[in-house]
Every structure is written in structure tokens, then in C-alpha cells.
Symmetry: none
Subunit: 112 residues, 10 copies
């Protein structure tokens, strides 16, 4: 479902930062909805992610039961596999549940 478009400027390293404050999925233990902000930072290689498809891709988690740690890693992996960027980092900050607030921070680097 994620779409890409060609990076027309692969001869240079540059940074793309995408902030998604409307991420929501479901807790696999309680069945209750979770809410969080995803912040992506990446240096593209040959491909960029198309933003509308990213929005639709993230909406797929709306009714899926998945742990914070797993959803953060899985989204990072999906983007890393698809884009093969030079570097990508995902910071996921979730809202409080039972008085507890959690963030997960994951990074991926292309091996040359």
C-alpha cells in the first residue's frame, strides 16, 4: 500500500522529517485503542515515500492489536525495506495508559 516516487536528487544527502500526531492502534492485551505521535527522519537514497500513501498505510493499524515496541519496529522495517534509505529513525511517543507514558525510539542504517 505504501507508494514511492523517485528521489530526483540522489546525488546529495538531505533530510526529510515527517510528524504524524494522529497514529492510533489497539492494545493486544486489553483491546483498548492506543494513541501516539510518530516522528520519522530519513535521508533518502533512490526513493521517497509518498505522503498520502503513508497516511493510508498508518491508518491500517487503526483496528490492529499490537504492542508499542512491535508496531514501532514494524513500521520502521516496512519503510526501510521499501525505501532502502541511507538512514532512518522513528520516534514513537504514546499517550498515558494507567498513568504510564511510553516512547520507543528505533534507528536503521543502510550498510554499504
Amino acid at each position: 500500500m505504501l507508494e514511492t516516487f523517485a528521489n530526483l536528487y540522489p546525488h546529495r544527502d538531505y533530510l526529510i522529517e515527517i510528524v504524524c500526531p494522529e497514529f492510533t492502534s489497539v492494545c493486544p492485551k486489553t483491546g483498548q485503542p492506543d494513541f501516539g505521535t510518530l516522528t520519522f527522519q530519513y535521508i533518502p537514497d533512490l526513493l521517497c515515500v509518498e505522503l498520502k500513501s503513508l497516511k493510508l498505510y498508518l491508518q491500517q493499524f487503526r483496528n490492529e492489536g499490537i504492542f508499542y515496541e512491535n508496531v514501532t519496529n514494524r513500521i520502521l522495517d516496512d519503510l526501510a525495506v521499501l525505501l532502502q534509505p541511507r538512514w532512518i529513525k522513528l520516534t514513537a511517543s504514546f499517550t498515558p495508559r494507567g498513568g504510564i507514558t511510553t516512547s520507543v525510539i528505533v534507528e536503521w542504517k543502510k550498510t554499504s
Copy 2:
């Protein structure tokens, strides 16, 4: 009482940060309740801590008499023994008592 689930992404180092502003225990000297915020930061190895069980585990201290320094170290140890993380740090910041505010900061690192 603490539960874990398998870290599905052990091939990478990533950071999990958990903030618990509703920690409460009892002062062993005065029998009065203490209140504080616990901030965990860890890099998992094979296991992650399940958050609901962490909440219930922390509630066990609700009526226990224990010094700030001891409770901070004991919680760190419990998590270190259970998770065997690559690295874990616990920052405990307690509310003022008699005009005095105290924090305890503890760290643990897996020896390879």
C-alpha cells in the same frame, strides 16, 4: 508478577522509555506515604516488559515501608534480573518532604 514478551527485534539496539508519575510507597520512618515519578530507559535484549504488569508490580509498593534509595535500587534490580536488558536506567524523583526534594538515579549494564 512482572510479565514479559519476546523482543521481536533483538538484532537491533533500540530505546524504550517509560514514565510513571503515579508511584507511591510509604516512608519506613514516619509511616507517611511518599510520592514520586519513575522514569525507565532501557535497551531490550531478548525480552520486553509488558506495561500493564509493570503498572501492577509498581502498585505493590503502595503500602510498603521502604527508603527512596532502596526502592529505586530494588525496582531496577527486579527489572534487570527479569529482562536482562543490554542497558537500563531508572530515575526516581520524589515530591518535597519537610521542604526537601530528593531524586535517585540508578543504572545497570549487561556484562558481555
Copy 3:
């Protein structure tokens, strides 16, 4: 358990404001601890509440299962019955549960 001392200045109306950010009780539905800040404002008549006894009185709710709305009204009533103040108001602001934050605001006035 609540103690009082004589208001030595009953010939004048004056305001006493007491803020208790460390209130905790238990949710009667889930058995989970609740946390909140209680703010009292009152004009004493013949009696003032002694603060240390107020602290101990509030600690009695530490392990009691009771709804936000009920605990706020009950504490107000206990103080109103005991102190018979000219006026008293209690604002209780609780921390988020399941993404929902609740406050209860109750007032009592002596009928002359």
C-alpha cells in the same frame, strides 16, 4: 480523626486555601488506584481544621474503593459537618484514566 482548633478570629470573615496534590484512592470498578489534587477554600466560623489531621484523614482513602463524584462530596460533607464553616468549596482534579480526565467541583454554604 479530623482535628480542629478554635478560630481565634471569628469576628471577621477570612479565607483559608489548602491544596493537596497527593490524594489517592481506588476505583471501585477496576480496583486500580486513582490520583488527584484536592483544593479546599473555606471561610471558618468557630473552628479551623488542623492540617496534620487533615493529611491523615485524606490518607484513609488510600485503599478505599470510591467514585470521584462520591469521594469529593463525602470529603466536603465531612469538613462541613465538623467545621460548620461559613462557606467551603472543594475542587478535585484527577489524573487521566483511559485517556479521560475528570474534575469534580462542590460547594457548601452555612444557612443562617
Copy 4:
């Protein structure tokens, strides 16, 4: 699905304020998810709304297509019919869509 419990203090007017920053429904025009914060303020008569049931009730809109104006009025009506409160107000503030931010503010008063 909404549950109530008896207001044990109907002899006095008092205010209950409930803030729900994690409301989400679906736009009936585009099929895209909407996000908003609902703030309830009410003076109960004989009944109070139970908070966990309110949370579950609001989750029912998660996959429902409905306009901002309608969902705000409908939720207000559901609570007004159920609780028959002395007064209730609902302020719904939604996140930007197409560069446009919308709020809807609705009020209901018991006719005596």
C-alpha cells in the same frame, strides 16, 4: 452501553468536568479518520455517567462516518436523555483538515 450510577448528593448543585482528548470518528465525505478533544461539563440531577462506560461509548464512533456538527449534538443528546442532568455542555475541538480547524459547542438545560 452508557452506564450510570446514582448521584448520592442530588440535594446540591455541583459540577463534573470530563476531558476526552482521544476521540476519533470517520469523515462521511472522504472516509478519512477525524480526531478531536471532547470536553463535557454537567451538573447531575439523579444520575452520574460512569466513566469507563463513557470511554467505551465514545469508542463506538471509531469507525462511524459522521459530520462534526452531528456527532457533537448526538453525543450531547445521548447523555442528556440518559442522565437528565440539570445542565450539560459539550465542546468538541477537532484537528486541522485541509488547513481548516473546526470546533462545535453545544449546550442543554433541563426544563423544570
Copy 5:
């Protein structure tokens, strides 16, 4: 181009607030683009404005040369004629031009 949908709750007065920070038109004197934030507040009667059509309607001014004062009044009139609301107010705040910042504030009320 502006679309409406039926107000399903005409038996009550309620407030709809819409903020559009991405308004742009063209200065009729210099041909240069102008930028501003439009804030609508209205009490609907039988009709509500559909937000996507409002967005598209406002985009029609993107390449039109028109004074601040006129565009503010014209947009208010278009909405007033279309919606026949019980009351509507438009606050238009434009960005600095030649070191000068301008706002225009217009109101319309249905005569019964």
C-alpha cells in the same frame, strides 16, 4: 460552489467555529499575493456549511485581486445568504505588508 447539509439540530442554538489560517488572495493595487487567517463563528439555523466545499470556495480567491475590506465582507455575505444562520462573525487577520498589519472584523445577524 459552497455546499450545505441540513442542520439536524435546529431546535437548539449552538456555536460552530472554523479557523482557516491558509487564506490567500491578490492585492488589486500591486498584484502581489496577500495571506491571512479567517476565523468564522456562527449559530446555524436550517443549514450548516460543508467544510470541504468551504475550503474549495476559499481557494477561488487564490488568484483574485481584491481589497482586505471587500473580501472579508464578501465572504461573510456569501455565507450569510447561503446559510441564513442565526448569527455569523468573520475575523480576517492579514500578514504584514510594507510594515503594516491589518485585520477586518465583520458580523451579520438574522433579522426575525
Copy 6:
């Protein structure tokens, strides 16, 4: 030098607010430049002031020696005579001189 354009909406009272933070004139006592922010608020009758001509009009004071109190009143009078607005107010806030900061606030109302 001040230009006007016809108010196309004289059938309604509405407010125009214009902020000019780059006003400068010369102190008649010391020959030193003065700097200030002029804020105009007016309800137009048949005419509106054209903003570019207002900018050029205000620039005429750039090398003129005149007291704060006089320049504020004179500008208000020039606009009142030209526009014959229903109401106009001018707030002039000047920057510190010799450690002293001065503002002058003047108002004019059409007599019917």
C-alpha cells in the same frame, strides 16, 4: 496624499484594525529621531483608507520635528477629516528616550 476607496458595505458597522510598528519622526527639542508603533482602529462610514497611501503618508513624518502628543492627535485628525468614520481610535507607543517610555491614546467619534 492619503487615498481612499469606497466602502462597499456601509449598511453594516464593522471594524478595521491597522498596526504600523515602523513609525518614525524627529524630536523638535533635540533633533533626534523618534520611533513608535501606531495602532488604528476604526468603523468606516462611506470611505476606507487605502493602505499603501497610509504607509506613504506616515513616511512624511520621517524627517519632521514634532512632539509625541501633537503627532498622534494630528494623524488622528487627518484620518477623521478624510474618512469621516463612525469611530476611530489611535494608540501610539514610542520607544524609550532618556530612560522614559511614552504612549498617547486618542479617540474620535462622528457626531450624528
Copy 7:
């Protein structure tokens, strides 16, 4: 110990405001030191309080055991008796003790 000097301007009502953030006394129950900020506001009649003597007067409470409510009223009374001002108000805000923060606000008006 409190000294006064003649109010040279008794023909007019004017306001004197004095803020003392370094007040300290002793809790009569626990023997522990208390800390607070006293804010005086008064309209003098024939006398003003001399500030150095006020400072020394307030220092007398340093080792005195006295309740918040009593010390606030007593200081107000001492000043009211001494100065016979047209009006005086004292706001005393104390630092947290056992997680509880208290303020006392007292007012006195000359009866003519």
C-alpha cells in the same frame, strides 16, 4: 517594636503594597520551621509603617510556635491597631508541608 511615621498626605486615599517573601515561624504541633510570603496592601490614614521596623517585627516570629491562621490574623491585628489604616489586607502563602500547601487571606476595614 513596630515604628510609624506621619502620613503627610492624609487628604487622599492611596495604596501601599508590601511583599515579604522571607517570613518564617515554627509549627506548634511538630516544632518544625514554616516558610511563607506575606503580602500587605493598605490605605493609610494618619500613619504609615516604617519598613525597617516591619522587617524586625516579622523576625520576632522566627522561633515562635504558632498556627498559620493565627499568625496571619495576629500580624494583621497588630498593624491595624497601630496604623488604624482606612483598609488593610494580608495574604499569607506558606510552602508545602506533608504534601499540603496553605494560604490565609485576611482583611480589616476602619469603621467610620
Copy 8:
């Protein structure tokens, strides 16, 4: 030493506000320098105060021993006598001395 110039606009009431953050005099008890901010607000009648002369007039207090209350009233009186304004108010806020901060607020109105 205070100079005036004719108010060219006596046919209208308007407000002049002057802030002097660099006032300094000497404490008559201790011989120590005092520092404060004087804020004047007045509606002129036939005369305005010239600002440079006001600055020089205020500098006369630099080495004079005088109480806060007296200096504030005296400056107000000097300006009231000189300008005979329709209304004038002086707010004097002094810096902390011995941990105590003082303000004096005085007003004068022309009797018609």
C-alpha cells in the same frame, strides 16, 4: 524646573502614559540608595509636561533622603499643580530592601 508645552488638542480627552524605570532616591533612615519604576497616566487639560524636563526633574531626587510614600505623593502633587490635568495617576514600584518589596499608588482628579 519642570517645563510644559501647550496642549494643542484640549477639546478632546486623551490619555498620555509615561514609564520611568530609572528613578532613584535615598532612604532617609539608612542613607542607602532606593530604586524604582514610576508610571504616570494623565489626561491633559491646557498643558502637557515636556519629557526632557521631567527626566531632569526626577534626577533631582537622586541624592535626597525621602520615604517611598512621601516621594510618590510629592511628585504627583508637583505635576498636578503644574499641569492642572483633568486626571493623573502615579504608580511607584520600588525594588526589594531587606527582603521586602513596596509599591505606592496615588491618584488626583481635577475638581470642576
Copy 9:
């Protein structure tokens, strides 16, 4: 369309920073307008960009369909080719679309 003027001070490295909060182009996928803030930072070599021509150049994108990533790189390239600066960086921060906010940060350095 971009104009330059000679850098009269090429013997020294210095920094020019230009902030353009009124950039707008069109989304090539949806045809909807995009809005963003462009921040340029550069060290000139022999040429500086003339600001009015930069404003007109940026206005050319007003009705052009182009991705965030491409427009940011293209503008950087146009300036780099034209000015041949010693170093230039462009930070483009766009407003939210579908709940997602994006920034693109691009840098170019003259190779000696």
C-alpha cells in the same frame, strides 16, 4: 527571473539568512494548495540574491504542482547555480496535510 547584485565584500565569509513564511505551491497528487516556510542560509561568493526578485521567483510556484521534496531541492539548485555561493542551506517546513507535517532540509557546498 532571479536577479543578483555583486557581493562587494567577497574577501570575507559572512552569513545571509532569509525567512519566507508565505511560500505556497500545489500538491501534484491532489491538486490542493500547499503552504510552508522556507528558510535560506548562505555564505555568498561573488553574488547576492536580490530580495524582491526572490519574492517574485517564489511566487512562480503558486500554481505549480510539485512534491515537497522536489520543490525544496529545485529551489536550492536554482540558487546554487545562480549564486555559486560558498555554502547554502534550505529548510522547508510545510503545514499539516491529513494530520501529517513534513519538513525537508537540503544543503549545498561549493567544491573548490
Copy 10:
């Protein structure tokens, strides 16, 4: 026109910072006035700049047509030539023109 006085402390490096928020010159393209804040930072060697002469020197640009980049460099050069400081930096931040804000930052260092 710029005057100097001897630095009596040349045996030590120390920093002088001068902020001039009232700089104004004229745009050479449009003839319109420009406004900006100049911030000087320098380490003197044998001479310091006299501040009143600096003020008068900067006023010479009041009616001169000159680009931002050139005026910033020229003022820096004038001061560098005159003072021969160990180091000097000038940051010039101009107000928005056509929606665009510009700063120029220039540095000069004595070569030993």
C-alpha cells in the same frame, strides 16, 4: 563622525555588546524605508567606540539607499578600520518586506 576613547584595559580581552533596535535606511530598489536591529559584539584593542557618536553615525543612513548586505558590511568595516578591535561581529536583523525577513551576520578578526 565616529569618535573613540582609549581602552584603559588593553591587557585583558573583554567583550562589549551594543544593541541598536532603531536602525533605519532606504531600499535602493524601491525607495521605501527599511528598519532593523543592529547588534555589535567586539573585543577592543586600544580603542573603544563612543556611544553617542555611534548613534549619530548610524543616523547618517536614515535617508541613504543601500542594500542590507552592503550596509551591514560597510558599518562593520567602518568600525573595524577605526577601532582595530581584536574581534568584532555585527548581526543585522531587518523587519519583513513582501513577506520576507532577512538577517546579515558579518565578522572581522584582527590578523596578528
